[in-house]
């Protein structure tokens, strides 16, 4: 009985510590009040947008309900901070609603451009399957590579390096 009580106390303390650590690390507000809706766009407009860029692009397809996207988001943020001047990072929010999408962006502080693709028209245009999926795009707007599933740090770094070599 005494042992159970001790275990319970320890468990409670552990949960409180974890909650405190997680809370301390998450400083961004979870519900944004002033962020504008993500712009909806068509595949033709999106293709023209990519073709008009003077640098390579990484297009990440995400959704607020997508569990792997949550773990991918911090990696994309790191990549944007490191390579944001050489590579255009673009998010494509699919099969989502604006409120949850904005909460997701605020939670992870994803500070690059995002577009709204409710029915996956753009993703289907580029042949992407599932969520998350990431497209690596050459400076002329041509699709270089599609990565299906979650991106880890090494994979993203490798594909960014390939894009930069292509650009140089």
């Amino acid at each position: 009985m005494g042992q159970s009580a001790t275990m319970l106390k320890r468990s409670v303390v552990l949960v409180l510590i974890l909650a405190a650590c997680g809370g301390a690390a998450t400083s961004a507000p979870t519900v944004p009040g002033d962020r504008a809706d993500l712009p909806a766009t068509t595949s033709d407009e999106f293709e023209a947008h990519l073709a008009g860029l003077d640098r390579p692009a990484v297009v990440n397809v995400w959704a607020s309900w997508c569990l792997p996207c949550r773990s991918e988001a911090p990696v994309l943020n790191q990549a944007n901070e490191k390579y944001g001047e050489q590579i255009e990072f673009i998010g494509l929010d699919v099969q989502d609603n604006q409120k949850d999408a904005k909460a997701f962006l605020a939670e992870f502080g994803l500070e690059f451009d995002h577009f709204f693709d409710l029915d996956r028209e753009i993703v289907n245009h580029y042949g992407g399957i599932g969520t998350p999926v990431t497209f690596f795009i050459a400076p002329n707007g041509q699709l270089v590579k599609t990565h299906s599933g979650i991106l880890d740090e090494r994979t993203l770094a490798l594909n960014i390096d390939e894009l930069l070599k292509l650009d140089s």
Binding site: P68, R70, P74, V75, R154, A157, L158, D161, E162
Partner: protein, 224 residues
């Protein structure tokens, strides 16, 4: 759903199993099971810390822990694995020495598992053995295979050492830290890699090699 990480894990288990057959002296019972348990403990610890570092609260988003590809904190994983292993063996430190060569070989297997994951390549290289990504003209260092070979050599070297408290385990930690430290510049990374943790492993392992036999002698000569 993709299973490449799972295949890499199976490769690691296979390598560690071979290690327990090659170097079976003084091993505790069910050594491979113990190592798998320790790896699981390390994985959980490493993933939890990685989530907190990334700003994901593990209490409010507990399912995120299964997204291993989101990142595993190297230092926390190593500490978690060692602590789990010691706990499962009733804190018998000599078990670390007995298991060290097989564990290092298992780690080599994890790196060799890059062949299944398509994740062997690092920085660009003009060396004749460089590999290119499919569809790419850029050849690169197969850096994960360098690490795998380095760790295989480390496992063998560790197995040749004398049986003194923490000599094998400490040396294994030093060699693993060194192999990872030396190969890190050839890895592509967004954050520079956990170089500090590799150096910490070298220092902690070195302290183990230095103090382990002395503590052992002190205990054996202490009056009862």
């Amino acid at each position: 759903m993709e299973f490449t990480l799972l295949w890499a894990a199976f490769t690691a288990i296979g390598f560690s199993w071979v290690g327990t057959r090659l170097w079976s002296d003084r091993l505790p019972d069910h050594p491979t099971d113990r190592m798998i348990g320790a790896a699981a403990g390390g994985l959980i610890a490493g993933r939890l810390v990685a989530m907190m570092v990334q700003g994901i609260n593990p209490v409010t988003h507990p399912l995120d822990i299964v997204i291993v590809r989101g990142g595993v904190h190297t230092g926390a994983a190593a500490i978690g694995a060692i602590v789990t292993y010691l706990w499962a063996g009733k804190w018998k430190i000599a078990n670390l020495d007995a298991t060290a060569p097989a564990a290092v070989l298992g780690l080599a297997g994890w790196h060799a598992g890059c062949l299944w994951r398509g994740a062997c390549l690092g920085t660009a290289s003009g060396l004749p053995w460089g590999w290119a990504e499919p569809g790419s003209a850029v050849t690169r260092h197969p850096v994960e295979l360098y690490a795998a070979f380095g760790l295989m050599a480390a496992a063998w070297l560790t197995s040749r050492l004398p049986w003194r408290l923490l000599t094998r385990a400490g040396t294994a930690l030093v060699l693993v830290g060194l192999v990872r430290f030396l190969t890190e510049p050839m890895r592509l990374s967004l954050t520079g890699g956990p170089v500090g943790w590799y150096l910490a492993a070298v220092v902690v392992g070195g302290l183990g090699v230095w103090f382990g036999p002395r503590i052992s002698n002190r205990l054996s000569t202490a009056p009862t």
